[in-house]
Assembly symmetry: C2
Homo-oligomer: 210 residues x 2
Amino acid sequence: MNPARTDHRKAIRVVIAEDQGMVLGALAALLEIEGDIAVVAQARTGKEALEAVLGHKPDVFLTDIEMPEMTGLDVAAELKRRRAGTRVIILTTFARAGYLRRALDAGASGYLLKDMRAEELADAVRRVHQGLRVIDPELATEAWGEPDPLTDRERQVLRLAGDGMASGDIADQLSLSEGTVRNYLSEAISKLGAGNRVEAARIARTKGWL
Amino acid sequence: MNPARTDHRKAIRVVIAEDQGMVLGALAALLEIEGDIAVVAQARTGKEALEAVLGHKPDVFLTDIEMPEMTGLDVAAELKRRRAGTRVIILTTFARAGYLRRALDAGASGYLLKDMRAEELADAVRRVHQGLRVIDPELATEAWGEPDPLTDRERQVLRLAGDGMASGDIADQLSLSEGTVRNYLSEAISKLGAGNRVEAARIARTKGWL
DNA sequence: TCTGGCGGATGACATTTGTCACCGCGGCGC
DNA sequence: GCGCCGCGGTGACAAATGTCATCCGCCAGA
């Protein structure tokens, strides 16, 4: 099962980031079983992760997306900006085209879903370490779908509306007039083919456009 | 770290259920590391889990809540009904009082959150195996809070409304009149102290009342 | 300089939501 | 039998929401 019982000094060095402690520890255990992979640090927030990667300069950085303080996508983007040599694998629950696109833009080498079989993880790490790209097949095909029709304003407004905030309150928070908020919402609703703000927010969320 | 390097035939036998393959496998790896715990089966849906537990009669059943086909809570309730001797530990993302209450009603011996430290899991399994109860401290205190003020109808209506369905459509789906739907919604909104249906749905969800 | 687009705003209107008061019916306890 | 809930329903009304047409100021490109 372990293709290379290599000398431990040559092991692939990995940093893992994931906000749920239980999952974090479990993933580490999963990778540690492999003889050729060494988990050199674990992080529970985006900021911790960024520091860990900059400090340890691992070969591979495996990260969740939704974390406190910084998302995994933010961390990936920052690493790209700083030209840290580490390759990034995104590991997330969400099969959302928007997330995948942003991940690739942020220079990620891999995008895997948490409902893949656990056995495939170590292989993905090895592949990415060798310079290959690993994209979950389910996403790879459907992915290059629609390209997010929403403007920034529409996104902001929709996010708040989706949490149940009333038009007036949204207007206050964004320093817009209530009418304008309703206009944006109306635009978003029609762009997304929804029947009302709530449905629109739901659709946008599932597509990863937030 | 392993209190008992016990004879393997005496290992604590565990079945794990969790819909995300990656997490499932990782948790199994985490427990397998311990010398005194043996993972005898893994399941990715509630139904699979039920069959696995009935078939293997493990000492401990560790399960997620939200899974396809049957929730972990449903499985626990069914096991209680059938008087299967297996002790149940719920392992979930959600610190919701409503879930905990239902878990205990369903005879669960443990309720843990996925953001606990991974090291604590094996200990929790051992404790439960010895007949102790293990409840996440964060929940244990706050838990016996408010007791879900919603009626069944209000719950149904709120669920659909929270997904963006319009009053008329909800009425059709539940074979009620639109006015009645609005009445239920209004009741729910005031019971929950919300400002509108969406906020009400959000509140109910976070409390675990769905 | 003109023109077109974009962000933001208005006003008017139809529809949907949220609230309230009140009715009818079937149990259930007394 | 009587009263009283709980569930479902009506009707009416105010407020919030969704839709449109239109307008203004600004700035980039021809």
